[in-house]
């Protein structure tokens, strides 16, 4: 077989050891610190009381020792990266494992049900499959892209869970771990520098603010997408073509890249097997998620055009799979959503749901941390790419730039429900982390002390931005188990066709297998009092109560005489965060008006939920 890497700079016969690789030591103290961090985390969880959450979410409820545990675990990670001597892989693995555990398992342990109200949309579809053993594409878009739900139901059956609610809370830790492994593997494929790979993992894991690591098709599809990129880059990589050569030379080259990995030669049968795996991954991604396969095709298309992928027709086959699945679903997508929102990328990336009320100032502050994280990650990525390019690593730099840039193509046609920015960041972040890893790892080769301090500072900075962003909205994201019980009670005690009307968003209304019989006429999300007219949230229920209560009645009655109106703690927190009805007090006044009205009667109540029926029905 012809090996197509003649122009690729190969690794020099002699690579001098980095100064840092000279003095191996057993990091006994680091292991002890890691053990202490684990113990502190466990104690911290025992001391945490969710009732103490305020506008700062879980940040105010977590004890100091929880933060100390995170700082120690992150400190050990940084120590493993910057210490002299060969990188201690067991220590780095354990350190990052503990950081992931602290960041992504804390809510799973503390809370008695999966967080995020919208998780229950996915739980409902999975329960439908578990109960019915079939799909009904007429129900909603989830039943048309069922891959993730089918896999969830398959796992639930095999693991012995009757209800995915029992394990869905752990999805965020699971995906965080799997994605960390993928980022590590991709980084290793693009550089031989072990430190760069570990730094990439910690940067990725501590900056993932997009909020997509939960029981949903998106993280599954992202996993499959990154695996495609990994397989292509590690086993199907070709040498650049003329275009790739032009791009590589555009900023000058000539130096030998000391971190260039050695290419892997493959037999024809092995190459065919890799192509088969890539197509299988693309198929599974395509049937699971509406957006991801297109981003994957765009990414692979760009690097194929530059000659980095062989065979070139692989991307064509991936595109055919993707389009072949879209065609039978095209009319449904066009009728219910928009295939193209706007051809103005600026408008698509700016698109946000318009609010009519003022967000709580604390929540606005927490929200502002997300752009700050993006900025830090972006700066690290740009600097890392430029630095790698200047060190002779032009092809890895070009590939990473292509992978960071491809997700931005979403914005050319779609705002993705106002989430185009978030999704673009989600898909770009693994590659940004890889480039950030290159930067810090190359600095760490210097004899000076400051690169180690800089690495510690960067990790401290991203954690200090990410932790408030991730846990600061937990008061809104927390779904009490009692609300899930209330949802199940509703499903068990109402007739099909009874619409569940939320007072405001935030209730896990689609938790049951028959979720589709309790939604509004559009079969979209469960309606709420603001679905038709958001301006209704401007009423603070301090005056003119009979008329306002009459409006509430009319809104609920519009969905049928058997409709149910739901009030709960999670919705109250949502109202407070977004300043609806004047905040939490206004929400209480709204419910008080409903409770005292002759037009509604209380039919169910538990510690966190009250459900009202129409009294005159």
């Amino acid at each position: 077989m012809t090996v197509r890497f003649a122009l690729r700079p190969t690794r020099p016969a002699y690579v001098p050891l980095h100064r840092r690789d000279v003095i191996p030591r057993t990091p006994v103290v680091a292991w002890a610190v890691l053990g202490a961090a684990l113990a502190l985390w466990v104690i911290g969880l025992q001391m945490t009381d969710l009732d103490e959450m305020d506008a700062w979410g879980l940040l105010s409820a977590l004890p100091v020792i929880w933060y100390l545990a995170l700082a120690l675990a992150a400190g050990v990670c940084v120590y493993a990266m910057v210490r002299r001597g060969p990188l201690h892989q067991p220590l780095a693995t354990a350190g990052i494992g503990l950081v992931l555990l602290i960041l992504y398992a804390t809510t799973s342990i503390l809370e008695d049900a999966p967080r995020l109200a919208w998780t229950y949309k996915h739980i409902g579809v999975t329960r439908y499959i578990l109960e019915q053993g079939t799909l009904d594409p007429s129900i909603d878009i989830y039943q048309r892209w069922p891959g993730g739900f089918a896999f969830g139901a398959y796992l639930a059956d095999l693991l012995g869970f009757a209800d995915p609610t029992e394990f869905a809370a752990w999805a965020q830790l699971f995906f965080a771990a799997v994605l960390a492994i993928l980022v590590y593997a991709i980084a290793r494929t693009l550089s031989t520098d072990l430190r760069a790979a570990w730094i990439a993992v910690i940067l990725f894991s501590c900056t993932n603010f997009a909020g997509q690591l939960y029981y949903a098709p998106q993280p599954l599809a992202l996993t499959l997408s990154l695996a495609i990129c990994l397989l292509v880059l590690s086993l199907l990589q070709g040498n650049h073509n003329r275009l790739g050569c032009f791009v590589e030379n555009a900023l000058g080259r000539g130096r030998v890249d000391p971190d260039a990995p050695m290419p892997t030669g493959l037999s024809n049968s092995a190459r065919a097997l890799v192509i088969g795996c890539v197509l299988l991954l693309q198929f599974s991604s395509t049937i699971s998620h509406q957006l991801t396969p297109y981003i994957t095709v765009a990414s692979i298309l760009v690097i194929t055009a530059l000659g980095y992928v062989r065979p070139w027709w692989l991307v064509v086959a991936m595109g055919v799979i993707t389009l072949a699945f879209l065609i039978p679903n095209l009319s449904y997508v066009q009728d219910n959503y928009a295939l193209v929102n706007s051809l103005n990328p600026f408008a698509n990336f700016r698109a946000r749901a318009e609010g009519v009320t003022s967000q709580h100032p604390v929540k606005a502050t927490i929200g502002a941390l997300a752009p700050a994280i993006s900025l830090v990650v972006g700066l690290l990525a740009i600097t890392g790419v430029v630095q790698r390019w200047r060190r002779g690593g032009s092809w890895p730099a070009v590939i990473v730039v292509a992978m960071i840039g491809s997700p931005l193509l979403i914005g050319l046609v779609q705002n993705y429900g106002g989430e185009a920015q978030l999704r673009a960041f989600l898909f770009a972040s693994p590659w940004c982390a890889v480039a950030g890893g290159w930067l810090l790892a190359s600095l760490l080769r210097r004899e000076a002390r400051w690169p180690g301090v800089l690495t510690a500072g960067v990790v401290a900075l991203v954690l200090s931005l990410f932790v408030p962003n991730f846990f600061g909205n937990e008061d809104v994201y927390y779904v009490p188990g009692s609300e899930v019980q209330a949802c199940q009670w509703l499903a068990d005690n109402t007739l099909p066709g009874t619409v569940f009307v939320q007072s405001v968003p935030g209730f896990p209304a689609r938790c049951s297998a028959d979720y589709y019989t309790h939604v509004g006429p559009s079969r979209g999300d469960t309606p709420n009092l603001l679905s038709v007219d958001k301006r209704f949230a401007k009423n603070d229920f301090t005056s003119d109560l009979p008329a306002l209560t009459g409006q509430v009645y009319d809104k609920v009655r519009a969905y049928g005489k058997d409709s149910r109106l739901i009030f709960s703690v999670s919705q109250e927190r949502y109202a407070r965060a977004w300043g609806l009805f004047g905040g939490a007090a206004g929400y209480e006044r709204l419910e008080s008006a409903v409770r005292n009205s002759q037009q509604f009667r209380l039919v169910y109540e538990n510690s966190d939920t009250r459900i009202y029926a129409l009294a005159t029905a």
């Binding site: 077989m1 090996v3 499959i129 053993g133 079939t134 799909l135 069922p146 891959g147 993730g148 089918a150 896999f151 139901a153 398959y154 796992l155 059956d157 095999l158 693991l159 012995g160 394990f167 799997v178 492994i181 993928l182 590590y184 593997a185 991709i186 290793r188 494929t189 790979a197 599954l220 996993t223 499959l224 990154l226 695996a227 990994l230 397989l231 590690s234 086993l235 050695m262 892997t264 030669g265 493959l266 037999s267 024809n268 049968s269 092995a270 097997l273 890799v274 795996c277 299988l280 991954l281 198929f283 599974s284 991604s285 049937i287 699971s288």
Partner: protein, 120 residues
Amino acid sequence: MTQRLRRNVELALLGLLLIAPLTIALPMPQVIRVLVVLAAVMLAPGAAAVARLPFSQVGVYVAVVIAVSMAIGVAGATVSLWVGWWHPYLLAGLLGAASFALLVLDVRKITRRPSAVGAS
């Protein structure tokens, strides 16, 4: 990634494939069932599918094995729903048996000719 390490991993997965049905069939604590079955579902099909591919690095091998296992699970579960044949245990049995056979073949091949996996 050495062939010896790979063979040991594949032997461990073969053991996992033998234990997993027992954790489902016998009355055992659910945590054991969850750990064993999850590991089998997330590792064995992928390891079997890429058994003939060369991987120079353990991290790349692990990542590909997990992702391909998930892809096989997603595709298998979805296709079985589409064709109206929803039998998760049977599907898992079929995938497990196929994985077992492929892994046995690969272990035998590695044992006989340690340097032959996938390289040109």
